[in-house]
């Protein structure tokens, strides 16, 4: 804890994905044998709108090096408009995280069920980015 060298550590990333798209995309990436770093722990939600920003805050404060969310492309929500509401919440949360320099550790994507390749590539790029940022300043802290 805290003594890892920047750029040379395995980040812990918590991911929240929508059941109807990105979760299926992750499945597709798996069945089509796409390789991507295994440092994300994915939690399945039923919709973008289910992402309570508290989930993200709690993950970050408990020492996740990165948190990502991924849902259906706007306009393609399984529940018609869940991701429109979710998008506003994510934007508000990101604005708050920006004030403390934590917004780089929170990623949000739109990945549909057919985009297995995009999911694998996104995970690769994300892993690199978080590695570059180094371990989260919150992990070693007594909070």
């Amino acid at each position: 804890m805290g003594e890892e060298i920047k750029g040379d550590f395995e980040p812990k990333i918590v991911g929240f994905t929508c059941n109807w798209c990105t979760y299926a995309a992750a499945d597709l990436a798996g069945t089509s044998r796409k390789k991507y770093p295994p440092n994300s722990r994915i939690i399945r939600l039923m919709c973008t709108a289910r992402l309570d920003p508290m989930f993200v805050l709690k993950a970050l404060l408990n020492g996740a090096d990165g948190v990502f969310f991924s849902g259906c492309h706007p306009g393609e929500c399984h529940y018609i408009k869940g991701n429109f509401y979710g998008r506003r919440r994510i934007a508000a949360l990101r604005t708050i995280l920006q004030q403390f320099g934590l917004d780089d550790r929170f990623k949000s994507y739109w990945i549909s069920a057919s985009e297995g390749e995009k999911f694998a590539n996104t995970m690769k790029a994300q892993s690199e980015e978080i590695k570059k940022l180094g371990p989260t300043p919150l992990r070693g802290k007594i909070l």
Partner: protein, 354 residues
Amino acid sequence: MKGAELNSDDLEGALKGLLDKGVVDCLVMPHRAGKAVSYMLVKDADKIESPASVIFAPSFTVNAANLIKGWTIKEKVGIVAKPCEIRAAIELIKLKQMDKESVLLITVDCAGTYTNQVYTEHYADIGDEVDSAKIKELDGKGITIRESCAICENKLAAVGDIIIAKGAGGNVTVAGLTAMGEEALSALELSLEDKDLERAAEKEKIAAEAKAKLDTLPQMGSVEALEEFLQDCIVCKNCRDMCPVCYCKECFFELPLGKPTGGDLLNLAELRGAIGLPPGQLFYHMTRVYHVSTTCVGCGACEDACPKDIPLTRFYPVITKKVQDIFEYVPGKDVEEPLPFTAYEEDELEDKLR
């Protein structure tokens, strides 16, 4: 808008008339207790004494909207309060915490307020009301207005059903902004004429001064700064209780998951090596700032309520303003405007996501 110019006696008559003529069933308005000013709930018009000397008093005790939050009664409640308090009431109407038809919102002009302690202590210097020149003069003597007032852009009465604007020579102008407000004024049998209370130039000047002051406040910028800022927090949650727009019946931080004790805390400590006590300072405040992010009216009641004197104005109003800016939303400006989290546009905010 239709309105009338009143002297202090007429104003007293008008407020009494609201009760006597049955326009409202009760009134929530300030009253004086010695040098101090606090709110009262009036049923009997005779209890209203020289209101002109008290409704403009630059003292902030509690946000009046918080006092009537969740009153789901059929009786009509009139509230005489400052713009931030009425704006909070309007947000509460939108949040369905009170009924639009059962409140008559009466907004008075404000120039900035002192904490009730400072006001009572320096009553001899401050007096019954202040203007911007007087505030500057007192500032020189070390009597300063609350920080949340210094960064407030909406000091002039411009929301609610009725506004009471300060005029020349101790007179006030009372005007109706909504149909309900105008009806109330006509019931009082005042001779109404067209009034122009836009005061655009004055509003612009106040907003510019407030913005300039906001820029001088220290920025948090990092987790370390936030940690230090909240180090003294005892998680008493008084800021939540005094916040007019924090309205959940059952707060997450009163539930076992949000308020871990005993074995739960030990598990957390084992997971992380050590945890801070009392637990959840950052989690509590960061969650709360998100919860009030679109509805915070910046009244500063949280800072006044903090027993540890944490300058919460530099946290809540400052951060929520940035969120409100991305939605171009001013809380309490318009009762018909939907809350940002209950509305959406199909094509928006993509630049705010990454």
